[in-house]
Amino acid sequence: MKGFTTTLKTDLKLALRNPDMILFGIIFPIAIMLLIGLVSKPESAALSFGGVAAFGICAAGLMGLPLTIADYRHRKVLKRIRATPASPAALLFSQAVVQCCYVIVSFAAVLLIATAVFDVRIAAPGLFAAYYALTTVSAFGLGFMVASLAPNMKVANAIASLLYFPMIMLSGASIPFEIFPRPLQAAVGVLPMTQGIALLKSAVVGQADAPVLVPILVLSVIAIASYSVAIRFFKWQ
């Protein structure tokens, strides 16, 4: 893709200057992991780790990705690159890669704290990695979809917040899902992050008979649907 290395280099530099992403994507998950680890028993720290590990995915996929792309459209960056020989898609891909970097850095930091400080062990690391990747792909799909459908920055901000905060609060990322009343559990089951975090937790504790089929299916359907909608409705200006 022509122009990709150049736009990636630029986007990486700009990402380091984005205070929102550094706060929500990296500092916030680290702080929550420390907090939960300090106040809870070792077993529940391990369970919470599965949820906190997904914080970076939420911040990058549901906030960083859609808001940056909507901002590029608003500032006519997407339009301007179409008046160069580069592929305009290079901007979208480089932004996805940058947001992936956020996810990886955030995850690495949370993992380091969980394992080194609170002695958390991931029982099935291979499965954990696969579930983590699927959850990321699915959340990024939602992010691209928001970027495609939002007509302006205000709407993009509103939708991103509507997705981000419930997923952080209700999907089991910060508050253990298990303590919610049954009806609420059923209601938030539709949030993709709830399914992703259920998968991550099952891999952390190594629960062999965990019901993984439905979560995997839900995440895959969300991913396919959201990327299709995103591609169908994307506007460069």
């Binding site: 530099k13 160069t84 580069a86």
Partner: protein, 245 residues
Amino acid sequence: MEEAVRIRGLRKAYGELAAVDGLELSIGRGEIFGLLGHNGAGKTTTIECALGLRRRDAGEVSLLGLDPEKDRAKLFEKVGVQLQEAGYQDRIKVGELCACFAGLYSKPADWRELVARFGLSGRERAAVSSLSGGERQKLSIVLALIPGPELVFLDELTTGLDPKARRQMWALIEGLKAESVTVFMSSHYMEEVERLCDRIAIMKKGRIVAQGSPTELVARNKTKNLEEAFLLYLDEGDSLKEEAV
């Protein structure tokens, strides 16, 4: 004379409103061409359709012999563009923006040399958002020249600039002429096009109502200057309509 720009029967409507309505124009290589008209006359739509940034409803566009919609990647190696709206990322610095653009072309000009030539030396580490209006317009010309273009589009380059900055821009455009770069500029300052342009076209409600060299247009209408000729053309249709009512 070899043509750098050829537009035939260009049409573009937004809903019911015809923004460009059967526009014809042709610009020879090395010419400085000015498109004049009030706000809303269709200048920007013409430029954006010519560049393929907006899909035209009908007509043919050829820039340096290439179709901007079909041969985009090849064409923009040789065409530089300054658009009215910003088009740069939040928090980006002058040097980063220039380096980023240079990276998009196969044979970019030396952007540091351009930055120096346009009086922006020492500003490389400044955030683009912190630049003054004049500095930002200079930067947008630097970006337009990074491809080492044969053809440059300047959409209302001097709108909103103070007289001093405007005069600096004029000197820069005259520099392009000396390098025999073809320039397609839009403007609503008569003084500016009178001084810079070899040929102008006056646009009104999506159509070209007159074209020729500034001196020709003045002579044809026996007016004192271009401004009067311009107003004459723009008033003509309106007074006819008023008579009809």
